[in-house]
């Protein structure tokens, strides 16, 4: 394992450092010996010593060796210059020697590099080849060399392989004999398919090709073809298998080739009532009714594409008895007797479609009925209410006495109550059918509250104190929130004691996920036992708020609760008997995920 040190983003291995010091030491020794021999006039023989560091460096670092040579040449030149100046002959010889250093380094470096590159190339081809490569002896069958791929295919390690003769890899004696026959034919063999045994004693199909390299060595390449063999086997079996599998399936299944029915299972026979003889060999399109035919043709065209993809679509089918059935058709491409074909599953959803239709029709009828009932119930109330109002408004002109007035007022209350009951009944029935959806918008809540107060004429009935930031906006269903505030105000005012007072206060903190809108009255309050019951659609008589009892308009708190719940919020109540109640609406500031803007 190589170890490294890092200097300014350069990774230097320990081996490199050792080599560096060897080169430096050798070079220094050479310089010292040369300097001393010059001093002693011992001639320039020692010059040849410089080839030690130069060749050493060039062998390991072909390009950088030239630099070492250059440095040695310069140092040598300087030493000679200092010693022999102005002896022109000596200086010329030394310069020639110095140039030779560089030339030798360059030549040696060039060849070293070339050899090294080709060696690396062959090694990487051998090591990383997708083919397994084995070198073995022709006579003894001893394996001399293998690459990684062989290890992967057969599961043995390289060392284990070297202990097994090549001939022992075959899965049975028959294959082994076949191989000996081929090997003896003295020709290089390509694509010899045979079966090996892996280390786990499992059969493994391989494709072998071999060449004799020299007298006794044989190089053999090895390709794993198990997957292909397996796939071919499956393809041959698939048709039979499909038939066996589909026989007992409850789903209707047909196999088509070019749109023609080649096979149908008993469930398909039950689905449409045709016998095998009626449809086999015919186009599947004949069971599709004319209305769906065009769509079916477009759908089935895709099956003929070179690589059909799995596909599905809903169709109606014509049974033998003429009944229209509906089903979801799933197409899966398969191979049948080596030809491209399609496996079609049909899930019968006739009953489901019928149910869906009848539910839709039922809902429509229900809406129509609700509308008619509302109209018929409300219309006759109008004259009664109108005339009662008129009598009460102009009591003198109509000669209404005090006693009569009291009776008339009770009549008004009853009519009003009747109206409320109809409204609530309608609203709740629509809510129960689940057809009501919220229509989100952003609006200023203070404006909405003022509108509710003005439209309901509440300002004349009680003193209303509004503490709402003028720019505060809600993102919710404006109509429903107005309705809830209306309900809250109407109930609060009816519950209040004279002098009637209502406080509407916003209590939402910026960090809090809910808006909190409190509507407080100075009324009779609600005992704890009755707190839950007031939100029931039909609260027990004793639990009703004053506004819900005979004698008051009584708007439905259960509706208010449903609307706020639809927003993902809730209503809380704090109440002290004889002091008053506070109803707080908790409405999420963010609309729930998945709700689209209206």
């Amino acid at each position: 394992m190589e170890r490294y040190i890092t200097v300014r983003n350069y990774r230097i291995s320990h081996t490199d450092i050792v080599r560096f010091w060897i080169i430096v030491s050798l070079a220094l020794c050479c310089i010292l010996i040369t300097a001393l021999s010059l001093e002693e006039n011992a001639g320039t023989l020692s010059t040849q010593l410089f080839y030690f560091p130069i060749l050493y460096a060039t062998y390991f670092y072909p390009r950088r060796g030239v630099f070492v040579a250059a440095v040695c040449a310069v140092v040598y030149e300087v030493l000679v210059y200092v010693h022999y100046f102005p002896d022109a002959f000596q200086l010329g010889a030394a310069t020639g020697q110095a140039v030779l250093f560089v030339c030798v380094a360059a030549v040696v470096g060039y060849f070293t590099e070339k050899i090294r590159i080709s060696e690396t190339r062959y090694r990487s081809i051998f090591e990383y080849s997708l083919l397994g490569i084995i070198l073995f002896d022709k006579n003894s069958f001893g394996i001399t060399l293998t690459n990684q791929q062989v290890e992967q295919i057969l599961g043995y390690t390289a060392d284990e392989l070297k202990k097994i003769p090549f001939s022992a890899l075959f899965c049975n004696p028959d294959e082994q004999h076949r191989f000996f026959g081929e090997l003896g034919s003295s020709v290089d063999i390509r694509n010899f398919e045979t079966c090996f045994l892996t280390k786990a004693r499992e059969p493994c199909w391989v494709n072998l090709s071999w060449t004799r390299i020299d007298g006794n060595s044989v190089s053999c390449s090895l390709l794993d073809i198990s997957t292909r063999k397996h796939a071919l086997q499956v393809a041959d079996d698939s048709s039979t298998q499909y038939q066996q599998l589909t026989e007992s399936s409850p789903t209707a299944i047909v196999i088509v080739e070019n749109g023609v029915i080649m096979f149908m299972n008993p469930a398909f026979v039950r689905f449409l009532g045709y016998a095998n003889a009626d449809l086999l060999g015919k186009d599947l399109g004949i069971v599709i009714p004319p209305d769906d035919k065009e769509r079916f043709l477009a759908f089935s065209k895709r099956w003929g594409t070179p690589v059909p993809a799995a596909d599905r679509s809903e169709f109606r089918f014509l049974s033998k008895s003429g009944e229209i059935k509906s089903g979801m058709l799933y197409f899966t491409p398969i191979t049948r007797k080596k030809n491209p074909a399609g496996l079609i599953n049909i899930v019968d959803n006739t009953d489901w479609e019928r149910l869906k239709e009848s539910v839709l029709l039922g809902n429509e009828r229900r809406r129509g009925m609700i509308s008619t009932v509302a109209h018929e119930l409300r219309t006759p109330l109008q004259p009664i209410m109108g005339y009662l109002n008129l009598l009460l408004q102009d009591q003198k002109a109509f000669g209404v006495t005090e006693e009569t007035r009291q009776i008339l007022e009770r009549c008004v209350t009853s009519v009003d109550r009747e109206r409320q009951i109809i409204d609530q009944m309608l609203e709740l029935s629509v809510l129960d059918s689940g057809e009501t959806e919220l229509e989100y918008s952003v609006f200023r809540v203070a404006d909405v509250i003022r509108t509710v107060i003005a439209d309901g004429g509440y300002a004349g009935k009680a003193e209303i104190n509004l503490t709402i930031p003028p720019d505060l906006t809600f993102e919710s269903d404006k109509t429903k929130i107005s309705f809830v505030i209306d309900i809250m105000l109407a109930n609060g005012i009816t519950s209040s004691k004279a002098p009637k007072k209502i406080w509407i206060t916003y209590r939402g903190a910026e960090s809090h996920p809910f808006h909190r809108l409190a509507i407080q009255d100075n009324g009779l309050g609600i005992t704890e036992a009755k707190l839950d019951e007031i939100f029931e659609p039909h609260p027990p008589e004793e639990s009703k708020l004053p506004g819900q009892r005979n004698g008051g308009p009584g708007k439905s708190l259960s509706l208010a609760k449903k609307y706020i719940q639809m927003h993902g919020g809730y209503i809380s109540v704090d109440s002290i008997v004889n002091i008053g109640s506070t109803f707080t609406l908790h409405i999420p500031k963010k609309r729930p995920d998945g709700v689209k803007p209206s």
């Binding site: 509302a374 109209h375 219309t379 109008q382 004259p383 109108g386 408004q393 409204d423």
Partner: protein, 121 residues
């Protein structure tokens, strides 16, 4: 001068009532038992406001409204739908008409007064 209010309504008892109520409030009611006659009349004598029933024959309140609004000079006459059908709210949501209001039958005198005051300014 008293303001003229056209009441389009096919239910006679309600027409009678509205006549009395509106007179009592100081308006001049014009009673129209069907939409076609009402359209004719309104064209010739534009009123201050129209109270309009929805479920009527031969033309419904919606058709009346559509024809009225398509005519020149008629799109600013305030119309209050006077109805007992719950679907009106849904339809109203799709109409952007500042001169259109709705009252649900049965309507109290106070509600009527408030609505009239709002649309007659």
């Amino acid at each position: 001068m008293t303001q003229k209010i056209v009441v389009v309504e096919d239910d006679q008892p309600i027409l009678d009532l509205m006549e009395l109520l509106l007179k009592n409030q100081g308006y001049e009611p014009v009673l129209m038992p069907n939409g076609l006659d009402a359209l004719d009349y309104v064209r010739k004598n534009p009123p201050a406001l129209i109270l309009l029933d929805i479920m009527m024959n031969p033309i419904s309140g919606w058709e009346f409204l559509e024809r009225l609004r398509s005519e020149y000079g008629m799109h600013e006459i305030p119309v209050i739908l006077f109805t007992a059908s719950p679907e009106v709210t849904e339809k109203m949501a799709g109409i952007n008409d500042p001169h259109l209001g709705v009252l649900y039958k049965p309507v109290s005198l106070l509600e009527l007064k408030t609505a009239l005051a709002k649309y007659l300014g």
